[in-house]
Subunit: 509 residues, 2 copies
């Protein structure tokens, strides 16, 4: 009886949600490149001038000491570290061009680099939102629900340990419950926070338990990744430096992403913003390679611009498109994988959210971005994680992947037999050529409604956002936990309990 | 006093609507090409086999006779015409690779071909819609309003003589009022209907009056264009053939667009649909070149697919993207300009309408489509012309154009002076480098709202579609007729009155 129920549930899910199988997108075309070779050389040269002449303010003493031992010019009073060009070039060259990150389900492991694109779910917002309850502070229960929907969406290739802030949990331990959710409710690659050494270490320890291995085993086969941001302009804070050092020591991939909003935290030109982004990204990558040469590192790009009248950040703009494609060129120049994002600045899941996201997605796809952060669920310039946007993003992402599938041209697909069969003014519905392709011929949408107006109206005149609301609820209702494992899940819970006690004890001393 | 009022109105318009100047988009990148050279050759070969072996059913006796005189194999009983490969190749080669269409305002003339992209407003829907009055049959007054908004939007480069059907006018004379509106309310290039010889002739006569020239003058400098569709599969009806012959004789550009929905009117593979599209497009172009060698002709692509479960047409899909880019390759193979469209199948101006349109726009941009039909206002698979969609399309179109602007990289834009000026953790708002670029640094949106959530909420929580509603009304309220000319406009009105009497007399005989 239980079996029958389960089958019926599967059947309903298949009926309602059309998904492509899990799989990274592959771009068979040459990348679109806004920079000439001379432009790349000019940006490279100017950014190394910045590091050599002006340097970076590095607030973490350990990071400064490591760089000093490696021969950098350090002023411990001001915290400013200056870098020789040769040092930067030599260290950056130690990073691998491509690498693999293991997922608990081996079919969900990701290869980062080359012409492959991975879609990484939203991370970091302060709020969550859906059509039922609106925009609000989130809870750990809602973080878990969001991760369940991410697990159920094949277009989401990896998830973020800090989906959005679960404000019902104390700030210092939030990450532990969120990591537990990633490691037990999904079987996909997940990313931990690099905000401080302890959060990074907790990521690594929980990953070791999840993969039944130790730090050496994890180093041999990386299984989590993390992202650091520089505090642009030209500052790396203590938490980020410590997180990066911890991950580098553990050999887990580090993404280094300057937050260079043009006109605010970097010059009011895309070229200038790229100079500063490049300086800061190379600095962070050189630090990671100094700690542990050969650690997988990713060149992170987040260059967009502000609205000059209001100072508001703008995303998915023409400037964002060009900065993203140009950043990918710079990363390729250094033989590094490139991270960018699926961005938008809309306050609601509307046409603006969709067109700004499509601008971002196409920029990533045409520019050969390898790791698309915030690919699912990002809204309101990153302040909100939206359940409906997650579903609409999944549609846009799998459309992008399908659009990059090679066009098949062979005797069979050319279809002369079918063309011969159909009289002028006739139709192809019943031809053998059509019938053989009935199920698989074309892309099947998740959200898009192609019914005629009258049928759509009779069904309630639901726009795409309202339909997305029904879809995430359906995915949540039909969610099944992938491979629960009592021993492993219990060990994670025990680790988390112990860490919570330790952190509480530290706070009370 | 009148002068002051006029200035204030201009000022308000400038405040409210940020527009790029009028100008065709130019793609500086190589086109994205889904087909290999072998694939192009295979599609070419298969499509010429279709024309040679199966032929086309051509319902118009005059077209058949012209083709028979040119050496084609004609069966007047069945209407089927078969074409030698050599004939097709030789006739298609007579068409120019690029051409110019004059607008009444010379600054609005368009050059069609190469790597330029033009945005042509919607044409042909049965309905119009806006948020106030919903979806409905349109009137000639509403057609005029739609054209006024098109005139005011710089991102709309040309307009369609049959924007949507003005159902308050008799079917046989609707085109006359709509053409009058194009020729007097806009100073942009406009397209006339090729549905029958008389409509095509009326287009040409009204254009002659508008440009104060005769048929020879118009032929020397084309000033209108038109589109014919084949009734796929493999049929050309009498009206379309007659319209194409009339335009070819007058030397005005003809776009030939098969309506090859894959799985319905063409094989259920994109390769097969392209074979059939290519056969039908080349046939139409060869006909035009037989009537008048050297007439500007455009290869029209409209290959999308149906939803196999329901038969509903789908647009802006991954298949549409690939078919559009591949069609552009075929057109380039023949040295012809290429037309495609900004399509979507949504019933409402929502996220789906936006993401399907962006898929279409990017396909056109990356594929080097020269003439983007239905670029502004198309909704519901072409059944409806939407005022709000027109405004949102204008935003997406000018974003695409801005994204294709070259990225400037020079000493000034690299911004080292500004980077030297700002301390770590500081900001660029007040630097001389930023201040010098305050007004012009970045793309300014028409519809996008980048304000923070609280400010947006206080302003009424308006989504992009609601904001677009306010914008078209503002454009309509501030519209000023370009260069009214009593003599010319009176002559057009007199022609239209005469033709209405003639058409009524013909109907009553």
């Amino acid at each position: 009886m239980a079996r029958r129920t389960s089958r019926r549930r599967e059947h309903r899910a298949v009926d309602a949600i059309n998904q492509r199988p899990f799989g990274q997108a592959v771009n068979p075309y040459p990348p679109i490149e806004p920079l000439s070779a001379d432009h790349v050389a000019a940006i490279h040269d100017a950014s190394l001038t910045v590091l050599e002449e002006l340097g970076m303010e590095i607030l973490d003493a350990e990071a400064r000491e490591r760089l000093e031992r490696a021969g950098c010019d350090v002023d411990h009073g001001t915290g400013v570290v200056r870098f020789d060009r040769g040092f930067i070039e030599e260290r950056v060259a130690k990073a691998p061009a491509e690498f693999t990150v293991r997922a608990r389900n081996p079919a969900h492991s990701l290869h980062i680099g080359g012409n492959r694109i991975s879609f990484h779910a939203v991370g970091g917002p302060a709020f969550c939102s859906d059509l039922d309850k609106g925009r609000r502070s989130g809870t750990i229960a809602e973080v878990r629900d969001f991760l369940r929907v991410c697990q159920s969406l094949n277009a989401i290739h990896s998830v973020n340990g800090l989906v959005f802030a679960p404000l019902d949990q104390p700030a210092e331990v939030r990450h532990l419950d969120a990591y537990t959710a990633c490691a037990t409710l999904t079987d996909k690659v997940w990313a931990g926070s690099l905000l401080g050494r302890h959060r990074a270490a907790d990521t690594i320890e929980i990953a070791c338990i999840a993969f039944d291995t130790d730090r050496d085993g994890l180093k041999a086969e990386p299984a989590v990744f993390g992202n650091i941001n520089t505090n642009s302009p030209r500052r790396l804070d203590e938490h980020m430096a410590q997180g990066a050092i911890e991950f580098a020591e553990a050999g887990q991939p580090v993404v280094v992403t300057p937050f260079t909003l043009s006109g605010a935290m970097s010059p009011a030109t895309i070229a200038g913003a790229l100079v500063q982004q490049n300086a800061e990204a190379l600095m962070g990558i050189a630090l990671v390679q100094t700690v542990n040469p050969g650690t997988p590192t990713v060149y992170g790009s987040f260059t967009s611009n502000v609205d000059m009248r209001t100072g508001s950040p703008a995303f998915g703009t023409p400037e964002y498109v060009k900065a993203t494609m140009a950043s990918a060129q710079l990363a390729r120049h250094y033989g590094l994988p490139i991270r960018a994002s699926n961005t938008n600045a809309s306050n609601v899941v509307d046409a603006q959210a969709a067109y700004e996201s499509e601008m971002s997605i196409w920029a990533c796809a045409m520019g050969h971005v390898n790791l698309m952060f915030h690919a699912g669920g990002w809204l309101e310039g990153g302040l909100t994680a939206s359940f409906e946007k997650l579903v609409i993003d999944a549609e846009m992402l799998q459309m992008a992947a399908a659009m990059l599938d090679p066009l098949v041209v062979d005797d069979d697909s050319l279809g002369l037999s079918a063309i011969r069969e159909v009289a002028p003014g006739g139709h192809y519905f019943g031809t053998a050529h059509t019938m053989a392709r009935y199920e698989t011929a074309f892309y099947k949408p998740i959200v898009s409604d192609w019914r005629n107006y009258e049928t759509w109206e009779e069904a309630g005149s639901k726009d795409a956002t309202v339909r997305a609301n029904g879809i995430w609820k359906h995915l949540l209702a039909t969610y099944e936990q992938p491979g629960p494992n009592r021993a492993r899940d219990g060990a994670i819970a025990a680790y988390v309990e112990r860490r919570k006690r330790e952190i509480a004890a530290m706070a009370s001393t």
